[in-house]
Symmetry: none
Subunit: 413 residues, 2 copies
């Protein structure tokens, strides 16, 4: 079963506001196994809205409209839907009375225009709204369900949960959904896709989705079956095939970001971490400390933005800096060792690099990043080069640092 | 002139992701006087997308598609638009070569599927993408302009600015737009609005927009006239009225964020900065170093996440920590002084606080933040309490630290 969501309101077509109701509605619909195939945002324009409603009704089983149910001229949803379905509207005295009572409870008189909210589309069920004046409407149009819901989230959500969910469930065959997610750091989306497409293209169920952010890929498998056992066995069949292909590139088999994965591994080992950041300027520590309870394993660290500070705070020999430059393996190593010694942490991560927009040389071009990791036994470094602007290079450098530590902590002691 | 935006991608139809590109695009279009009348979000479904494109082209002068230009089977935008316009696609060897060069620069081989990205719709202009493999496309279809742009914001924004804006301007009647912006830190949106509404509601031109983010308000005045002189004189009339009301709460009379304002002030004085961050865990330094050239004035600093590290790295007396706790004025002062002495910077900022979700006490409830500032003459502290979750408290604490320094640097020497 497919659904469309139409958000109504000119304010949703400004640079300041966005339709977020549809995220919550999508979650509710997905949990029933209903997929959202299109979202449309239309202003307070009766004609355009009627066109959008007709188009949605022509191709989708469920059409949900949010907003535009208020009492003013701007509120065109009732009229547009009635027009699109070629139905009339009926005045319901009992709804008018309820709105009037609501006003009286707050010692205000109902304005004449509020009477508009007592009109219901012919054949629609009015949905009570305990949190506002605008009632919702549920229209069964053949096999199609059309819902008119108020825009304010505190009115929409309880109305959908109480009135629409049970009506929708009654239209659906019994079914169960199970999901499995994977996260991968620093592999291009096209590479992930090329590697796992031979597996996922074989299956219509579970459905596979790949979500890409800078240096971070999410793979989602969603199995939909009539029983939990069936759904779980589908995931147990496809999941391991993907795990076998991507191996230790997978850093999480759930939605945990890298800083949470690293934090859990440190806590499990009762070990601690410090950092020495140069080009990332605090980004690695900021991500680590964004996790509540990070003080259990994160001690602190050093922001060593200039050569002099590298020498003074962390004892990086001035000769080393002169000979190799700040963006070099020996300096990355000295920074990590320095941070580890001075904080007494089990591990220390260092990051040095050329984030740009200037400062590249032939030996260390723009985007060059070196991560150092000092640990109980040894110190290692990892060099990479990232393309993109300063923000992107810094974000990928922080991602690399966390992934270097994640891989180290994943190896058996 | 009217525009529609079609965002393409099944991930934008999940409960987790939302199309935010359209906010930025709407702002860009509005600044040209182009209104956005409909936004549509469609999954990776060629047929549905082609229908959406046909509908948009039937009613709008400008149609912008974002996303779906990648190399995989999922990426259907090129095919759907070609289908909707009944045009063929042409393989361009020069685009293929450029993609291949891009891969080679990062020492990777181009995957076979990337060749898909070298196809251009008949009659379209290919728009170069310096930040990714997917080129954009600009199609002039009679009086209508259709744009295919990549989904990642760091690719979309520069491409739109460089390639699409000038082409759009050429289609519009000559008009002059002049803007004036103000930024304000840590004042609630409702307070800003209440204070300046008596001024801005008097003017239809310039149009005033208030944009609110956590702890950061932007006020935009936009005058649209047939000559520059007219537009500028409108701004010269309204701007000073707003400046008189908000006074030194205004930290920038342009779009510079606080870290840029602070950076410019430090550079102008040839002074330097270091930090000692506790609850913000690197966020202050991360913002300061996000500005290119920050190494001219930022020396580095200390992340002192535990009490022991505060003592060992910055010499905060253990007695002081025991007596006053880490979140106290004396400790904030000791942290700032310690950072200043150890780095030799002109100024040192410290931040200590209770970001949550746990750890509050009666004396220092959740959300309490203390900023310390050590300078050539004295050391000062500033206490605040922020409501909200961990991320919000940390973000507001960093904002407060930067604003404390901004105000200090704004006072005449």
């Amino acid at each position: 079963m497919n659904a469309e969501i139409i958000a109504v309101g000119s304010e949703l077509l400004t640079p300041q506001r966005i339709d977020t109701n549809s995220l919550w509605l999508t979650d509710q619909l997905n949990s029933l196994g209903v997929e959202v195939t299109t979202k449309t945002i239309v202003g307070d324009d009766r004609e355009r809205l009627a066109i959008a409603v007709r188009a949605a009704c022509a191709r989708s089983d469920v059409v949900i409209l949010t907003g535009g149910l208020g009492p003013t001229e701007d509120d065109v949803t009732r009229d547009a839907v009635a027009g699109a379905l070629r139905r009339t509207q009926v005045f319901r005295q009992n709804i008018c009375d309820a709105i009037e009572r609501r006003f009286r409870r707050t010692n205000r008189a109902m304005a004449e225009i509020n009477k508009r909210q007592a009109f219901v589309i012919e054949g629609a069920e009015a949905l009570p709204n305990p949190n506002g004046t605008a009632p919702g409407q549920w229209i069964q149009d053949g096999a199609r369900a059309i819902m008119l819901l108020p825009g304010p989230p505190n009115e929409l959500k309880p109305m959908f949960t109480r009135e629409c969910l049970p009506r929708l469930q009654a239209l659906l065959p019994p079914q169960v959904i199970r999901t499995q997610s994977y996260r991968i750091a620093l592999m291009p989306e096209s590479e992930v896709d090329q590697r796992i497409a031979p597996v996922y293209t074989k299956y219509k169920n579970p459905v596979t989705t790949i979500l890409a952010a800078a240096g971070d890929i999410q793979i989602h498998l969603r199995a939909r079956c009539s029983t939990a056992a069936e759904a779980e066995s589908l995931l147990a069949e496809v999941g391991p095939l993907i795990e076998a292909i991507l191996g230790d590139s997978i850093y999480a088999k759930n939605l945990d970001p890298l800083e949470v994965v690293v934090g859990k591994a440190l806590r499990a080992r009762s070990q601690t971490l410090s950092v020495a950041e140069s080009c990332t300027g605090g980004l690695v520590a900021e991500r680590i400390t964004s996790v509540p309870g990070a003080s259990d394993y994160f001690l602190g660290g050093f922001l060593t933005y200039t050569d002099r500070i590298k020498t003074e705070l962390l004892g990086v020999p001035a000769d080393l800096l002169r000979e190799h430059t700040a963006v070099s393996e020996p300096v990355a190593e000295a920074l990590a060792r320095g941070a580890r010694e001075r904080t007494g942490s089990t591990w220390a991560l260092s990051v040095t690099g050329v984030a740009g927009p200037t400062g590249g040389t032939e030996a260390t071009p723009l985007g060059t990043v070196i991560v150092g990791l000092a640990g109980p036994d040894a110190c290692s470094t990892r060099r990479a080069r990232f393309l993109g602007d300063r923000d992107r290079v810094r974000a990928l450098a922080a991602q690399l640092a966390l992934d270097v530590l994640r891989r180290e902590l994943a190896t058996p002691r």
